[in-house]
């Protein structure tokens, strides 16, 4: 029986559609311009077209998985709904005051992000819950009704309810939500404890408000795409990718759409883990370099590392702390202003700088001939011979190498360099920038970059991977086939997943273990229910975590806990929990923990289940390696000169082929550069593995 999976990823520019045939291992993909007015249009057109052209029956599509940047972009472009906020009397300004820190120390013109809800739409009502969850002041219903009338009168369509200490007792938020729905039917309501059930009022409010801001848009879009897929003949329920690499069902995504903000990159990181595991690689640094940015994420044992904070809509894209804090679980990745379009320039002390400013795709690099005048990384790559004008982007983009050389020469002159030095300098500097970011990122985990393998994807990953790896002391590169749709593959292999958190302030030494167990079981039940609601009946796996800290310290550390249940009568449980925390502590801080009482501020549960049949074994590549003997000169910084590099077409490489560098492996979306001090081999997983001597 045919068995297809459909993956959909709506990006800012392109919508990617991929259909995977689980029987044959074949993959059909289509890239289509995103239709911003009505994003469902491109999806349906693309999917319908793929099905028709390949004579695939919609009935045989057994799962549909969707990722999107629509909601992220709505936050960046401020195109969400008019949103209001209801909060505890005395605290409406928390959203505007924020963290009180500068994200840039030296900028006289520094601006905080404008709050998503302006001050006049942030309304206060008398009510108060204490930090232990007890109610001090009852919710003033009459006052709430007045404020709701005010907001409704101000054309507010979506409201965030965020009360102090609602993580400890959600009663007032629940009560307020009921009143709002009664008073203003049709209003979208977000309760802060349902999106981020965690202590720290600013972060929770910011998350709730962001959710409220995109909720109407998400509801409308998800309903529409669900209906249109049915019209197309696809009846299996839609699953949506979360920022942490798990899947959820449509109702959950509509309820808490902020969970989807990083769904695209999450799919990419999952795919990276999949490709790495195929080659038995447990420690991966996933390196995805595109036109504007490079993204780096750490994947260990096939699982992307997860962070529990995220920032949306930064004032300055590459500066931490300049955005809206969002407390969701998300794949941990860093974004660097280093891509093919990154612009090279002379800085204020006469040094060559590359990025983070980018020529993007419009006007693009000088060699595109679309009006770009500043030399970019891509221009340098053509000048150095790393890219082939005839085969670039499958030959669809005419390349003017002469124009690139002229722009490089001009920049080189201003710096006292000849144009070859300008190009090799750009290549070297952009690689150093990416290596520097990777080093600092990995240092946060207390690890050494040399212990990882580098997995290269995106148009630029394979071009720059060899030199970046050398700078990091990394000895192994993995380059999966057809990197362009790699991230869509992540959609197809993802498990369904629900993560829930709660603040409990549990002191390990003397609090009642039953409290901890009850809190965890409660989260497990909620999370499992979400998975059952999605129609998934397979067995679930449950993972317990806690945000632990030493009493009195400001930071906390998310640590995996032993599986439950924790039985009060079992004297070993406390010791096991303590040693779980201490082990993570030692890993992170490289030293013995002090003898101070431990507190679990938050507990977290992650429940996962595999979506049946979502295994993927791609077909292997070319039947025969036709060594056409082609070669061209390419500049290698490690050799300091041009060397003759053998050129291969990837789709003509036979499994098992190996070759010593210098060499190039070309495919439509990218070119793998193998330096003189390395060799490559096509392995059975169909990845190319490069070993650096």
């Amino acid at each position: 029986m045919p068995d297809y999976s459909l993956g959909i990823d709506i990006g800012g520019t392109f919508t990617d559609i991929v259909i995977f045939d689980h029987e044959s291992g074949r993959q059909y993909s289509r890239k289509i311009l995103t239709t911003h007015q009505n994003p469902a249009e491109a999806v349906i057109e693309g999917a319908g077209d793929l099905l028709r052209r390949n004579s695939l029956s919609a009935r045989d599509v057994r799962r549909v998985v969707h990722a999107t940047t629509l909601f992220t972009n709505a936050l960046i472009e401020r195109k969400g709904a008019t949103t209001g906020m209801i909060t505890t009397e005395g605290f409406r300004d928390v959203l505007e005051i924020g963290r009180e820190r500068k994200y840039d120390l030296y900028d006289i013109g520094i601006m905080n992000p404008t709050p998503l809800v302006p001050r006049n739409l942030r309304r206060e009502v008398p009510e108060r819950t204490r930090s232990d969850g007890s109610i001090m002041t009852q919710l003033d219903i009459a006052a709430l009704e007045r404020e709701i009338d005010f907001l409704a009168g101000a054309d507010v369509r979506s409201v965030a309810v965020a009360f102090l200490h609602s993580y400890a007792n959600p009663r007032h938020e629940d009560q307020a939500a009921e009143v709002i729905l009664k008073r203003a039917p049709g209003m979208y309501v977000t309760r802060s404890h349902e999106v981020a059930c965690e202590i720290r009022e600013y972060d929770r409010m910011s998350t709730a408000v962001a959710n409220a801001y995109v909720k109407p848009l998400a509801g409308k879009y998800i309903d529409e795409i669900s209906h249109k897929l049915v019209d197309l003949g696809i009846t299996t329920p839609l699953l949506l990718m979360l920022s942490n690499g798990g899947l959820t069902h449509a109702e959950e995504a509509k309820r808490v759409p902020v969970q989807m903000l990083e769904s695209g990159p999450a799919a990419g990181a999952l795919a990276a883990g999949h490709f790495g595991l195929a080659d038995g690689e447990n420690m991966l640094l996933a390196f995805d370099m595109g036109g504007t940015t490079a993204k780096l994420s750490v994947v260990e044992n096939g699982e992307p590392l997860i962070a529990y904070t995220f920032e949306a809509a930064r004032q300055r894209r590459f500066i931490e702390g300049s955005g809206l804090p969002i407390r969701i679980s998300t794949v941990e990745l860093i974004e660097i202003g280093a891509g093919g379009g990154s612009i090279a320039r002379k800085d204020e002390i006469g040094l060559l700088k590359v990025g983070p400013e980018s020529a993007g795709s419009e006007p693009g690099p000088v060699c595109y001939g679309r009006g770009g005048v500043a030399p970019t990384v891509t221009d340098a790559n053509f000048d150095l011979g790393a890219l082939n004008p005839a085969t670039f982007a499958g030959g669809t983009v005419p390349i003017d190498v002469g124009a690139a050389k002229a722009a490089l020469a001009e920049l080189g002159n201003s710096l006292g360099l000849d144009d070859a030095k300008a190009a090799s300098g750009i290549y070297d500097i952009v690689n150093e920038n990416m290596a520097a970011a990777a080093r600092v990122h990995i240092a946060e985990r207390g690890r050494d970059p040399a212990s990882y393998s580098l997995l290269c994807t995106g148009g630029g990953g394979p071009v720059h991977g060899y030199q970046v790896a050398r700078k990091l002391g990394i000895k192994r590169l993995i380059c999966p086939p057809d990197a362009g749709v790699a991230s869509a593959l992540g959609l197809i292999i993802a498990p369904i997943r629900a993560d829930r958190a709660a603040t409990i302030g549990f002191r390990l030494r003397d609090h009642d273990l039953a409290l901890l167990e009850r809190a965890l079981v409660d989260l497990q039940e909620k999370a499992t229910q979400m998975i059952r609601d999605a129609g998934i009946k397979s067995e679930v796996s449950i993972h317990r975590f806690a945000d632990g800290r030493f009493v009195g310290q400001g930071f906390d550390l998310v640590v995996p806990l032993p599986p439950g249940p924790y039985d009060q009568s079992d004297g070993d449980v406390r010791a096991e929990l303590k040693s779980a925390f201490e082990q993570s502590y030692r890993e992170k801080f490289s030293r013995t923990p002090p003898d101070i009482a431990i507190e679990f501020i938050n507990v977290r549960v992650s429940v996962r289940a595999s979506v049946s049949g979502n295994t993927v074994t791609p077909v292997s590549g070319g039947k025969a390696t036709k060594n056409r003997g082609a070669s061209r000169p390419v500049f290698f910084p490690d050799a300091g000169k041009y060397l003759d590099a053998r050129v291969f077409r990837r789709d003509e490489l036979k499994m098992g082929t190996s070759y010593d560098g210098p060499a190039l492996v070309e495919e439509d979306g990218s070119t793998l550069v193998v330096g003189p001090e390395a060799s490559f081999k096509v392995v059975p997983s169909n990845n190319i593995v490069v070993t650096i001597f």
């Binding site: 605290f91 009180e100 030296y106 302006p118 720290r200 972060d203 520097a436 930071f555 490289s590 002090p594």
Partner: protein
């Protein structure tokens, strides 16, 4: 440098590598230190200097207090011990306020780096430790002896062997022996990493020393700073302010001289040092001066020795901006944070677009200490920020830490951890100085003690008598106020809080920029509509 040519590419690549080494070391400190000031407020620095103690790079997020202080500390070690007496595996230590960063709470470590037996560089760090002994931080001390344990310039590790005597003395003299010594070891981890990375880079690029690179970097950065200064008209620009003071107001004076591509800041005429802890040692005065200049002239260039060469900073010995041993210095920020205001005030006369009006700082600090019901003593430090000043690009920012960079504790966390109830935390209408571009607003926070036992409250609060001035005809920001139980109180003395007593902290607003007569009608309407102005 070896045989390779040091061109615009090679320097950039090597410099990026050095900056990433100190940034990587900074992550080690964030990851491994106990002090929340280090791991949340970036109250630390990592530096690489050349073999003479000239700074090549400083970690990216390091707060302004440390600009130029660590390289100066390295030079003090060189002067005391001599390069020839240093050996591989040595680590030097001090917290001398005059040779370090201005107060005892910052411990600085310095490690000489050798390549093939030759001294090529120093790795240095400084970090605010959780406790250094002495009195709970306040402005009360009269002498530095009251402020904690003093470590003179000495070896912490001698050719790989730690000084156990020093460690034992340190442990015995602080309230948090594990955390304080733990943080010193965190710093050792950071400088070891810098050493490893720099030696790796030198091997990879076949460098025998860093002299060529240092010379190029310094001369290029110096040139950029000179060019920025040359673009300004020669002259002497004066500015002065008066601040709260303790018994009587303090006077701060600056003469900023620009001549021949050089810039001199002279604080002659500033009030004499005070018999309280608000004295600001020269190293901190220097750091704050350079910080303000960098904001105005070269905001994007990473810190290094070259940018300092065209600038001179003078402060009369015995003044509050250059006090002499053994005066107390623990609350240096209460004075030092006024320094950038002077620099901007002077520069405003020639580059009004590149400065901002005075912010509602220095940073406010409230220390609450007492005994918990279980009999255990505790001390809790809370930070509060006012608004920043207006600037040519727009209104000041409300409630933003400046020039330091310290968050306030979330309300829920305070209530969870401490016997406190917080009634409100809100923007303070009308506290921004009026102007074409209004000052940022301060905030009102009402705290109530829920402790069954008494709490001692110690304030370090400024601008409660003299507000943040405006620039170009802008009005001053709102005065800060401290109230207890509906009465304005003297913020210079300790207060005892009983259960149910309430403290209202009203932080100062920033000064306005240009006359409010030129503010647009639309902006005034928005201020009214949103309640920033009532």
């Amino acid at each position: 440098m070896g045989t390779k040519e040091l061109n615009a590419v090679a320097i950039e690549v090597l410099w990026t590598r050095i900056i990433s080494a100190v940034d990587e070391a900074a992550k080690v400190i964030v990851r491994t230190s106990f002090s929340t000031l280090s791991n949340e407020a970036n109250d630390f620095a990592c530096v690489l200097t050349d073999e003479c103690g000239n700074s090549l790079a400083q970690n990216t997020g390091s707060i302004p207090s440390f600009i130029g202080t660590l390289p100066a500390t390295v030079k003090h070690f060189l002067a005391k011990f001599g390069a020839e007496k240093m050996q591989p595996g040595d680590v030097f230590v001090t917290n001398d306020p005059w040779k370090g960063t201005g107060h005892l709470n910052d411990i600085s470590l310095v490690k000489p780096i050798f390549r093939n037996g030759v001294l090529v560089a120093f790795a240095a760090t400084t970090s605010h430790v959780p406790d250094i002994g002495g009195r709970i931080r306040s402005i009360e001390p009269r002498e530095v002896f009251e402020e904690g344990f003093h470590i003179p310039l000495m070896r912490f590790i001698s050719a790989g062997k730690p000084d156990d005597t020093l460690i034992e003395l340190l442990r015995e003299n602080v309230r948090t022996p594990d955390q304080t010594t733990g943080d010193v070891w965190a710093q050792v981890g950071a400088i070891d990493l810098i050493e490893k990375r720099i030696l790796g880079m030198m091997r990879e690029h076949d460098l025998t020393d860093l002299r060529g690179l240092a010379a190029e970097l310094f001369s290029r950065s110096e040139r950029a700073m000179r060019e920025a200064i040359e673009a300004l008209p020669d002259g002497i620009y004066r500015y002065e302010i008066t601040t709260d003071g303790v018994e009587s107001p303090l006077s701060f004076k600056l003469a900023l001289t620009i001549e021949g591509g050089e810039l001199e800041l002279d604080y002659a005429g500033t009030s004499p040092q005070q018999p309280r802890a608000i004295n600001c040692v020269y190293a901190y005065t220097f750091a704050m001066s350079i910080y303000a200049l960098k904001c105005s002239l070269l905001p994007n260039l990473p810190n290094n020795e070259g940018i300092l060469r065209a600038v001179k900073v003078r402060a009369p010995e015995g003044s509050v901006l250059n006090p002499v041993f053994p005066v107390a210095v623990g609350a240096r920020a209460a004075t030092g944070h006024y320094v950038p205001v002077l620099v901007f005030g002077a520069l405003h006369q020639i580059i009004p677009d590149r400065v901002m009006a005075a912010p509602g700082s220095p940073l406010w600090i409230l220390t609450l200490s007492g005994v918990r019901t279980d009999g255990k003593p505790y001390a809790n430090v809370l930070f509060f920020n006012g608004g920043t000043g207006g600037r040519a690009s727009g209104d000041g920012v409300s409630c933003l830490s400046w020039p330091s960079n310290i968050s306030s504790t979330p309300v829920e966390v305070s209530e969870h951890n401490d016997p406190l109830f917080i009634h409100y935390k809100r923007l303070r209408a009308n506290s921004g100085g009026a102007g074409e571009f209004r000052g940022g607003l301060g905030q009102d926070i009402l705290l109530e003690s829920t402790s069954a036992t008494d709490i001692q409250a110690v304030f370090m609060t400024e601008r409660t008598r003299i507000p943040a001035p405006g620039l170009g005809g802008g009005n001053p920001g709102g005065l800060g106020e401290v109230w207890i139980n509906d009465k304005l109180v003297n913020n210079r003395v300790q207060h005892i809080l009983k259960t149910g007593d309430r403290i209202l902290m009203r932080t100062p607003g920033g000064g306005g920029y240009n006359s409010s007569a030129t503010r647009t009608k639309a902006q005034n309407e928005i201020d009214r509509e949103l309640g920033y102005v009532e």
